[in-house]
Symmetry: D2
Subunit: 336 residues, 4 copies
């Protein structure tokens, strides 16, 4: 796996260490190459004898599948450098191949994804696009915020359950690991502890176009405002949906749609109670519920995931399982 020293790469290694069908052939780190994993991450269990190698050795090693946990733009670079990987199974955790439209990707990230390469990738929202992923070789793992929003929203819009009367407004709150491992003023303990605030409100965050592209068949518009929580892991999303009117039995219809859509999905759990982060942090679970207010014709969805697991490394391993046709929960049932 490529890119072991970010928070996502580290969580990925922790999951893979216990995966019964995976042997980690190598892990790379530009900064830490040459050191044993044990010395860098004292907690990494049975992989700890692994020695980190330089990323530029990774592309030449023969493996059955490769995870890329690199910065945005670096995955493009890596795959252009090693064209023979096009026949290898790849799960990319960056944003580089998440967009169907390379124009939209360029506008959003300022980077050019080669169209031919981009076409090989499938958007890896596992439960929604499982069939496509199973037939693909390359998977673009979704962003953390989009995972928390699209899992509850997609089946309702696809099922035409909701007649929208205006834009959907999403306010999300993420733990600090979402801001990455690179030391910077915004992620210092003293800046985050006891604090809370919004950043990149309404249209500024790059996960908004990602969500809107996935939802583009359904003609919805979104507002999206993320916030930084004084916790390590977890994403909580409030999704306000304005309707023209609330038909009788809507709440039951929404729950039924979810239950039907996510039947036999071990990780996606529509619930009746108000879910809290503690129920999902450390696991690959997604939980969400719905509340309806007839007085204001509003549907409110509350959704929780662990940003580094279901929102990143866990879903990546889930996609690997789908790529190989293994049971979806293989190696993912525990806590990480």
């Amino acid at each position: 796996m490529v890119g072991a020293t970010g928070y996502t790469g580290r969580k990925l290694l922790r999951i893979l260490a216990g995966h019964p069908r995976v042997r980690v052939a190598f892990a790379t780190s530009a900064r830490e190459s040459g050191r044993r994993l044990l010395d860098v991450y004292p907690e990494c269990g049975c992989l700890r004898e692994l020695t980190l190698i330089s990323p530029d050795r990774a592309g030449t090693l023969a493996v059955d599948a490769i995870f890329l946990a690199l910065g945005h733009g670096e995955a493009i670079q890596f795959l252009k450098t090693y064209p023979r990987l096009s026949s290898t199974r790849v799960v990319d955790l960056s944003a580089d191949f998440r967009f169907r439209s390379t124009a939209l990707f360029r506008k959003t990230y300022g980077l050019a994804a080669p169209a031919a390469l981009n076409r090989k990738f499938v958007y890896g929202l596992t439960e929604v696009f499982r069939e496509k992923i199973h037939r693909a070789r390359h998977v673009a793992n979704p962003g953390c915020y989009p995972t928390s929003v699209l899992l509850p929203l997609y089946p309702l819009l696809a099922g035409k359950i909701l007649r929208l009367a205006g834009p959907i407004s999403v306010t999300s709150a993420s733990g600090a690991s979402g801001a990455g491992a690179t030391p910077k003023p915004e992620t210092r303990f003293c800046d985050i502890d006891g604090n809370f605030g919004a950043y990149k409100p309404l249209r500024e965050h790059r996960h908004l176009p990602e969500m809107e592209e996935v939802l583009s068949p359904f003609k919805s518009r979104l507002n999206f405002t993320p916030h930084l929580l004084p916790i390590r892991d977890g994403i909580f999303s409030d999704i306000h949906i304005p309707l023209a009117r609330v038909p009788a039995g809507l709440e039951k219809r929404i729950q039924d749609t979810w239950r039907s859509f996510y039947r036999d999905c071990p990780f996606v759990k529509p619930v009746a109670h108000l879910p809290r982060l503690s129920e999902v942090v450390g696991t690959n679970l997604a939980k969400f519920t719905v509340r309806i207010e007839a007085r204001t014709n509003t549907v409110l969805i509350l959704s929780v995931i662990d940003n580094l697991i279901k929102g990143a490394a866990g879903q990546a391993v889930q996609n690997l399982n789908v790529l190989f046709g293994w049971p979806e929960e293989t190696g993912l049932a525990g806590r990480f």
Copy 2:
């Protein structure tokens, strides 16, 4: 002051301890009466020699003004027991007299506020109702969430700046002190640390009718969903306002309206940047900003206060200052 051992009463004592025009005649505590304040609150500075007395002695002592920091329903009881307090200045921090309509209060809190007594009270959102407060003797101090929402919203609706196209959706997040000092499972450290969740969504929280009554002249409907943050103090509110359309120059017009409405207000600060809790926690400040998204015709207001200070004890002292005609910032300029 009556009710010293809740988080609000404690903060109130800390503020009053440094107020240059106030001498605290007594402080009551049902649980701790007979103990010195010093022994209960090792941090309470110059008041620490004060001995806590039983609440049932409080109504008979001669004072110029009285703060009530009691549970809901108990302020009604207290004032009914001591009718001669009707000529004393009273700042009540409970919900008992916050509603103009005693019927709405009964529906919301299940309690009966005597109409004649209720009419003596003015809603103490200081900067908005300063003139009325100055002419009154009894002030009902606003709820913490309403303070964070009404301060930015009231001038815009009163000024007819916004043509609403649907309900206003408020998501707020509060520190744990907002849940009160009584030990209960929900306020244990292990339940809150590293956690986040919503409670009483959409219409369930009793601060919603309080806000809607104050805004009733402006025909707006609100959704309100509070959340519990893993911090001690502070409230952050996201206010999504859907418009029919966004007229040119709206952002500037909003900022101008605020600046004009809150000119010479030492504690209310419209700002250009995205405010965070750390800027106001420990102070009587309220800060808020606005962002506009033309694509979705949405106005987003982000608002921060300290829930125990501007949202409770600080605003209570500010109201005392107004009642007596003292400069509004007397005793409130510091950190608490």
Copy 3:
């Protein structure tokens, strides 16, 4: 298992839920009996269909082994009520049978443990007393602080590596889950967050006699001062040992003694680096290291465990494994 609703009982259930050789026959809760486990603990995985029963039904059910996670004194009461359990394997997580001397237990806890019953119990510091545990039917699971102190200290004193020149001084710091799940002022979020302090210093804590009795063959005296950390789980112990003089090669000799004593122990890890809580929280691991200062003839041991796992529920399951002769790490390799 008896006593499912404390923090320890809850962690125990989480571990047992994934144990390949255990089927949980029942779980009791005085407060929550009749409710499904799923509704009380939304996170408890595959056990969630289990319904909590009243403790007074537990003693009559036929099981191969029973865990008691009750308050101090209640385990005595339970076993006196159900004498036929004397032939069942029992792991008791309370303090009731941790002492060899029932007189010392009475002096420390103010409770009387029947001598005959007490004799059936073995002190369950797994790696140290494994042989005795294997031959016993009843195990008294050690306290959390003693586990963190005795694991590094016992082999050094038993091996006569250290010539003490005075009392051993232990300062420990525990996460808030160590204070239990019963709501009380000391465990409110607002009392713990951002705070730190000592409690029951020097001789006041009841884990001191427990440690001293285990170490009594070695004629050492201990000071013990615990502190409360603003985190959920984990115990960190600083152990200062004053020597008459520091012989050459002492550090290596200590590390060698540990490595030899804990050879083939999957959970006890002497390390060279300074261990931090993050390396063990969520696991059954114990890690410790040593530093030596010749200038002051002082040996310093730094030791970390998860208080609810290696310090309680994890060690309890480890003891179950030893009682049945299963591999010691069965069901304990993951994160909880």
Copy 4:
């Protein structure tokens, strides 16, 4: 004041902003020069119109006193560059002039302090060396850990109250602001939250020689092991003192010695209860207590301060007050 953008400089500005006898002429920041203080620190009150200047302009401006809040070695450089400051009052918050022995300073910090310059400085442990400070022009502000240890220890050793039977062992725990504002892996939120650990144990921390030099008249040896707490501000020190024997009435004698030594000291408070950080964080207070264990002949002192206030910026302002002969609590009575 020189060096406004570290945590200490920022706290110093906050205190000075409310000091009735101080006008802040300038504040420097190498990184942020040219920006308004308001924009860098939205919370800095009445100073917020101040514009940050480059440090190399600071030495030429005429002021009555200057605070240096620079990195170690930079204060030496600054004062060598501007020799005419030798007649100005200087409070230096770095370690550069804390040692009487420049050889010990060189050994500890690897830096050379010019002996002539070093001799101008007095060690600024205010309550202990008040007379010397009053007669001096240059003050070396003590380290944060030494302040928490020396305030309780100095009077007892100077008063010959304790007959030591071995080394004094100090374990301290500090909030994350003690690690400084420069972003680095160790101060990321995700590394500190929920975590705890020791660093630089026994003799490795540079505050140990500082303490030992101050205590050198009393022939005591110290072990010192600091720990990092998951909180922002505060230092807690456990001080274990082994005695030959515990004479009758020792506890009272210690408390009497403290009360006599710190009579009329507004900020130093010997207490009977076990002090916690929450009692002093945000203030210039130091609190400590004593417990004695006759069984092991041990004296335990527990001491708390705010590391950035009494441990740095607050004591610096207190020293300024002493330099000018102003009442010691001027500008320091509030919360910061």
